[in-house]
């Protein structure tokens, strides 16, 4: 059996295409995640623009009903599973080991596998575009519209298989980060000294480990219904509403999976650019934990219209309202962090401030539909569309942009152009408000969502045109960003190791960091470890020049996990197995063999 591991010689190159395909370096995997997720962010954006083109005018016939249904389904799936979640994971990959003073994650090859499965899952989910049969029953995929009878195309098959594969990726990645954060912290880094972003990554990973199995159960049952004729979600033999419960028991924690990393990022950015520590650090941590716990008790607020009865309606309305408390506490702590600070308006800081401004609006509109009777009017209208975009675009995406501007120098050793960055900020900030702001009003005057066309003269015409115009402004902003990213990665101003005078350990080493991150594992004696190295005289001390990462610049030989083909091969095996049910059994056989090859090669390959 040992010969198996010689079928592919263990790769040694860290450069070029093979370097990327075989890498197990958390930083390169982070970059792969980020570039792939940004690509899908653009795809999701194009889907959105197509919908806005259709909805710009009443009685529009730009695109057909079926295509529109595919577009809104895929827009949500793409943005949630292929853009925002993996962008969060991209930051986890880049930052968690650096922030806790580790040389890599606990399971480097597993980390690579997680990326490859994500990529293949994303491709499976998008396969439908090649035959114009993408998933078309909404990202929430309410049974029994998803049954073979009402969704006869392959669309919902891609949904089931794509999400199952993607779920595997999330689960593997999340477990890896939980283990990494628990075990690989530098000496002296107690949990309360751990940087806030890593804290939020920790909480998010635990949420993922718990939430993904719930959707997996739902997806397997739905897959069985579609492929093997079981009746889990059949209205006579099974239960149509069972799907909704399974989906939202996953779906609501999912919302916090999308927003907690964003909260972690801005919680790093405010202190740096206010030159003050995070106000109420333990409170910010605990409110994050509280949100994660309470996120499990609110799922049925998505289901007030299903007629659960007055008692469940009341309970879920109350728990939903209650989640506003830790969220409010976080917002106040951020405000207190910048209060009294010395605020530098870098692009990263502007995006982070934009996050507070917009996320607050999303939170407040959330209150009006936590009130069940009021929600019955707002549910499935554009008011909800406005709400989720203020939370996910105004919240998650704004924070992710902030994070990219903030950590880009660490990734590339170069600064993103600030001038283009500010242009990007204003275009996105203004465009976003013009697009989603009026949707509150349009929803309140009765325009339902997921309608491929709407009649004229209902009071909706003008505002839909405005929203479509705003989406163009946002799109231009994103183009500016992509240009900035591409240009700055190659020609941007050299940043130095610590361009922002930041606070956490990742800034104590070279930019970009050497392969092994830390030549010498740091010993931590306080929170904001790097800050206290630089300003050892205490809070009002004079900056104390510590040559940050000075010795790291010399080539040090440190034994690191070597690249491997097997995560990629294993990933291909899993993807092929996933595709069996929509293609041909032979694909499954090939997939199984590939999977066995990948996993045996992996087992027998020396880990070091």
């Amino acid at each position: 059996m040992a010969s198996l591991s010689y079928i592919l010689r263990r790769p040694t190159s860290e450069y070029g295409v093979w370097g990327w395909l075989t890498t197990v370096d958390h930083k390169k995997i982070g970059t792969l995640y980020m570039v792939t997720a940004l690509f899908f962010f653009l795809i999701g954006g194009i889907e959105a623009i197509m919908m806005r083109a259709q909805l710009a005018t009443p009685d529009s016939t730009v695109i057909s009903a079926d295509l529109f249904n595919q577009l809104f389904t895929m827009h949500a799936l793409t943005m949630i599973f292929l853009a925002i979640m993996p962008l969060g994971v991209a930051f986890f990959n880049w930052l968690v080991p650096l922030q806790i003073g580790a040389r890599d994650v606990a399971f480097p090859r597993l980390n690579a596998l997680s990326y490859w499965i994500y990529l293949f899952g994303a491709i499976i989910l998008n396969l439908g575009w090649f035959t114009a049969t993408s998933p078309n029953a909404g990202w929430f995929a309410y049974a029994n519209l998803t049954s073979i009878q009402y969704s006869p195309t392959n669309g919902m098959d891609y949904y089931v298989l794509g999400l199952l594969v993607l779920g595997t990726s999330s689960l593997i990645g999340a477990m890896n980060f939980v283990v990494t954060i628990i075990n690989l912290r530098a000496p002296g880094m107690t949990l309360i000294r751990m940087p806030i972003f890593t804290w939020m990554a920790f909480i998010t990973s635990i949420l993922l480990v718990l939430a993904i199995p719930v959707i997996t159960i739902g997806l397997i049952e739905l897959g069985f219904d579609r492929f093997f004729g079981t009746l889990f979600f059949n209205n006579a033999a099974g239960d149509v509403l069972l799907w909704q419960h399974l989906f939202w028991v996953f779906g609501h924690p999912e919302v916090y999976i999308l927003i907690l990393p964003a909260m972690g990022m801005v919680s790093e950015i405010f202190p740096t650019f206010s030159r003050k520590p995070l106000f109420g650090f333990p409170v910010v941590v605990f409110s994050g934990i509280a949100i994660a716990f309470m996120g499990w008790s609110v799922w049925a607020h998505h289901m007030f219209a299903t007629g659960m009865g007055p008692v469940p309606d009341s309970v879920f309305a109350a728990t939903t309202m209650a989640i506003a408390i830790p969220t409010g506490v976080k917002v106040f702590n951020w405000l207190a962090t910048i209060w009294g600070g010395n605020i530098r308006f870098t692009t990263a800081m502007m995006f982070a401030l934009g996050f507070i401004a917009l996320f607050t609006i999303g939170g407040l509109s959330g209150m009006t539909h936590a009130a069940a009777p009021s929600d019955l009017q707002q549910t499935d209208t554009y008011y909800i569309v406005a709400h989720i975009h203020y939370v996910l675009f105004g919240g998650s995406i704004m924070a992710i942009f902030a994070g990219i501007y903030y950590w880009f120098p660490k990734m590339y050793g170069r600064l993103l152009n600030e001038r283009l960055g500010k242009l990007h900020f204003w275009l996105v900030f203004i465009g976003m408000n013009i697009t989603f702001g009026p949707m509150h009003y349009v929803g309140l005057i009765g325009m339902p969502r997921r309608n491929y066309m709407y009649p004229a003269d209902m009071g909706w015409d003008f505002w839909n045109m405005v929203a479509s115009g705003g989406s163009i402004i946002m799109a231009i902003g994103v183009v500016v960003f992509i240009h900035n990213f591409y240009r700055s990665a190659r020609k941007g101003e050299i940043s130095g190791d610590d361009p922002w005078d930041a606070r956490t350990l990742e800034w104590s080493i070279a930019s970009p960091p050497p392969h092994y991150n830390f030549a010498e594992i740091p010993t931590v004696t306080s929170g904001d470890a790097f800050w206290h190295q630089k300003y050892p005289d205490g809070d009002k001390g004079v900056p104390h020049p510590v040559p940050s990462g000075g010795e790291d610049h010399e080539e040090v030989h440190i034994e690191m996990p070597r690249p491997s083909f097997y995560p990629l091969i294993t990933g291909i095996g899993i993807a092929l197995l996933g595709l069996t049910l929509v293609t041909h059994p032979i694909v499954g056989v090939v997939g199984l063999i590939t999977l066995l090859w990948g996993s045996y090669g992996w087992m027998l390959e020396p880990a070091e």
Binding site: A317, V329, L335, L364, P448, G459
Partner: protein, 398 residues
């Protein structure tokens, strides 16, 4: 038109003032130093209060499908609850955003002092407790009225227990609504489709069912949504405080023509309602005669297989009951109306004058999947002449 100018003004003032306030990096510091406290306040006002006020006063909520123009008890209490929370949220909005803008203006860095260290505060227990209790109070303030209102979305409150009531079973189909009126014994009295007629000031109790996938019944001016779930029975109720036509549409995504699964509720005074229900109870036997060319087509084209005309041999139950189709205002679950082409739904419902040429109806008869994607009614190859005859026939089903 007021809306447009409000919006334009809002975004110009809003974005310009925000831009002025938080663009200090590239601006000349010397110029900024001239800013007085009062001009900061002015910005604060512009940014946080003015746009909100403009938005509130500028928006017309009296629109056909508006959730904020209630014409019934249920919609009224939902609207009241919304406004209560909205105003509380508006206050929080002004406080938080105002604070944010104030901090950005007040604590922005000064040229040459970018590296100064401000006082390093780590936290404050009293503040933390304070801003935990504050949201707790807000949450309690909005949760109590919320819970009080929930039961009323299912069944009428005691105050209305003695008022007159009717019961209608609503069945959702892809993509139309079937209405089965029940008599006092709970048996089906008569069946109609897509247009629900009700008496004013009467409690209308609905039982909701679905024939295929999940649909959601909602008439925003009368009451918010309740789902029609296959395999289950749901309940809701509403009343209308005024006569008129109220529009609504399916709100749960239900497939291709979800957007076209619309309906109207027509509220009459009691006398007119009685008259209408008398007609609905009767059949239309006299149309099914050999001399009626329309009936001949209706039979030979197979329409009878899916549609019912009470009193004739047309007993199909797949499509909507057409017994009194001629008295309806809309076609194919409101995908089209019976007015002239180019007239909007809103204009037509304000002044329901039917098109004597039946252009819309003929379009539907000849090209159903074009009008309504995924429609179960197939294109039957109906010629223009046949369409004329069929349209006349259908319009005479009074």
């Amino acid at each position: 038109m007021r809306n447009k100018w409000t919006l334009i003004f809002f975004f110009i003032t809003g974005s310009l003032s925000i831009e002025k306030a938080v663009w200090p990096v590239n601006m000349n510091y010397e110029v900024r130093k001239l800013d007085t406290r009062s001009s900061n306040l002015r910005k604060f006002f512009l940014i946080s209060v003015l746009p909100l006020t403009l938005l509130l006063t500028g928006c017309d909520t009296n629109l056909p499908q508006s959730t904020l123009w209630s014409a019934g008890s249920v919609a009224q209490s939902q609207q009241d609850l919304f406004y209560l929370i909205f105003w509380i949220a508006a206050i929080i909005f002004v406080i938080v955003e105002g604070l944010l803008v104030y901090i950005m203006v007040r604590y922005r860095t000064k040229a040459g002092r970018e590296n100064d260290l401000p006082e390093q505060t780590h936290g404050n227990t009293k503040l933390e407790i304070g801003w935990t209790i504050l949201p707790v109070l807000v949450v309690i303030a909005v949760t109590i009225p919320t819970i009080r209102g929930i039961a009323e979305t299912y069944e009428p409150p005691k105050a209305l227990a003695d008022s007159p009531s009717i019961t209608v079973d609503v069945v959702g189909h892809q993509w139309w609504w079937e209405y089965r009126y029940l008599n006092t014994d709970g048996d089906v009295d008569f069946i109609t489709a897509n247009e629900m007629h009700i008496p004013v000031d009467t409690v209308v109790k609905l039982r909701l069912y679905s024939d295929d996938v999940i649909h959601s019944f909602s008439i925003p001016r009368l009451a918010g949504t309740r789902d029609a779930v296959p395999g289950r029975e749901n309940i809701m109720w509403f009343d209308a405080k005024e006569t008129g036509i109220f529009v609504g549409q399916c709100k749960e995504f239900c497939g291709d023509s979800h957007a076209l699964m619309k309906t109207i509720v027509v509220a009459h005074n009691a006398g007119d309602y009685l008259e209408w229900s008398e007609i609905q109870r009767s059949g239309n036997e006299n149309v099914a005669v050999e001399s009626n060319a329309g009936w001949g087509l209706f039979e030979s084209k197979g329409c009878v297989g899916c549609h019912t005309i009470k009193g004739t041999t047309a007993l199909g139950e797949i499509g909507p009951d057409l017994t009194h189709f001629g008295s309806r205002l809309t076609i194919a679950s409101n995908a089209l109306h019976k007015g002239k082409e180019g007239v909007t739904f809103t204009e037509f419902f304000d002044n329901p004058t039917k098109d004597p040429e039946h252009i819309n109806l003929k379009r539907w008869l000849q090209h159903p999947p074009e009008v309504k994607p995924g429609s179960l009614m197939p294109a039957l190859g109906i010629t223009d002449d046949e369409a004329d005859i069929l349209a006349d026939f259908l319009e005479n089903l009074k």
